[in-house]
């Protein structure tokens, strides 16, 4: 169990401001969805938390202790990122063994069992693996390390539908048997929506939203029907966007649909996490 406090974090690469004043607390034993468009700053944020790159300003506290160059605090964290941190000539099984040196609770038996389930050849060299299997090897490593906080940066990249399904299930099984905080960054929001307890949305390096997915359901809704009726209803309400089709219209509106008196002639739908995300991050 670990809590991570991120305080006023900023980072720029040359002229590009990757993160601006991000303050966020990742609570213990919670499954987070870290969402943002390409280049929003998701990987930068995770890389800084994991001490892989350094912030220009701000600080990270792991259970109250500043994390920078603090091996003991960082040992509670694991990150499955885009980069391969191991020598490409290592075999999969050698990568597991190397990781087991860092993480005292590493479960080698579990890693081998999962490898079998995924049909991952543990004798193969990392450089010989396909994109999908390289993701799988990193996923297994991340799940087996039994760290308090595990970051998954695009875990399902290159995975087929069956393997993605396996990953979601195994993440939940692992969470059930050994509760931890999982931070999952993904573009496949719809697929992961059921898994996520809390969503963190980043836009242009700034924190846009940090909210329970249950609460997000009451943040927006859509109404559709005859254009004139939709327009009448939408008047005075905060409309995020509109779609028109012939004489029909759909308006995406901010707010809780249950606190509104919506005419029977209009069809009302809750906004999914994915559509809310699209509306929030469209610029």
């Amino acid at each position: 169990m670990s809590t991570i406090e991120i305080k006023n974090l900023s980072k720029s690469f040359g002229k590009n401001q990757a993160l601006s004043d991000v303050t966020l607390t990742l609570k213990e034993n919670c499954i987070y969805g870290l969402l943002g468009r390409n280049g929003a700053g998701k990987s930068t944020l995770m890389n800084i938390i994991n001490n892989r790159i350094f912030a220009d300003s701000g600080e990270i506290l792991i259970d109250g202790i500043p994390s920078r160059d603090n091996d003991k605090a960082l040992g509670k964290l694991h990150m499955m990122g885009e980069q391969l941190l191991y020598a490409p000539s290592l075999k999969v099984s050698e990568m597991f063994k190397a990781a087991a040196c860092f993480y005292p609770e590493y479960d080698m038996e579990y890693a081998m069992k999962l490898s079998e389930e995924y049909k991952l050849n543990t004798k193969a060299k990392l450089q010989k693996l396909s994109t999908g299997y390289r993701s799988i090897a990193k996923i297994i490593n991340a799940l087996a390390c039994n760290a308090d906080v595990v970051f998954f940066d695009e875990p399902v990249l290159g995975l087929d539908a069956n393997h993605r399904d396996m990953f979601y299930r195994q993440a939940i099984e692992k969470y059930n048997s050994r509760p931890a905080t999982f931070v999952i960054s993904t573009h496949l929001i719809e697929e992961a929506a059921g898994l996520i307890e809390r969503a963190v949305v980043i836009k242009d390096g700034r924190l846009l939203l940090d909210e329970d997915t249950e609460a997000i359901r009451s943040m927006g809704y859509s109404v559709s029907g005859k254009a004139s009726l939709v327009d009448e209803f939408a008047k005075g309400r905060e409309v995020m966007s509109e779609d028109t089709l012939g004489g029909l219209k759909t308006a995406y509106i901010k707010g809780d649909r249950f606190s509104e008196n919506i005419p029977d002639e209009l069809e009302v739908q809750p906004l999914s996490l994915q559509s809310l995300f699209i509306h929030l991050t469209n610029s």
Binding site: I172, E190, L195
Partner: protein, 122 residues
């Protein structure tokens, strides 16, 4: 079975209703153990905290109860309780919407009664 995160009802409500359906159909008999939160969350890939919330709705209603160290069990009389609850909902959920749809289509009350009788003979 699939729980839809974008559905009209939140996932935990969908899950509670799914268990209720299974109790009503007899798939989960009274005094029998039902699948655990852990099993349901992994099988249907829903967040364990959400699954627990769904379970707790049913515990609060007295539909299921916890046997310490063993798991969740269907309460005695649960199916009957659900049946009478659903009967009350039946009017609100089906009859009212039936009549308002009939009105929209210009179907008279007598015509609706006639249709119900025809449907009931099936």
């Amino acid at each position: 079975m699939h729980f839809n995160p974008d559905g009209e009802k939140p996932i935990y409500v969908q899950m509670a209703e799914w268990i209720e359906e299974n109790i009503l159909s007899g798939a989960f008999p009274e005094e029998a153990q039902i699948p655990s939160t852990t099993d349901i969350s992994a099988q249907y890939k829903i967040n364990p905290a959400t699954a627990l919330k769904g379970m707790n709705i049913l515990v609060d209603k007295g539909i299921i109860y916890k046997k310490r160290g063993l798991g969740m069990f269907v309460s005695e009389g649960a199916a009957e309780k659900l049946r009478s609850e659903r009967k009350q909902e039946f009017f609100e959920k089906f009859v009212k919407s039936l009549m308002s749809e009939a009105e929209k289509l210009g179907i008279t009350k007598n015509e609706v009664i006639d249709m119900i009788e025809r449907g009931g003979d099936k």
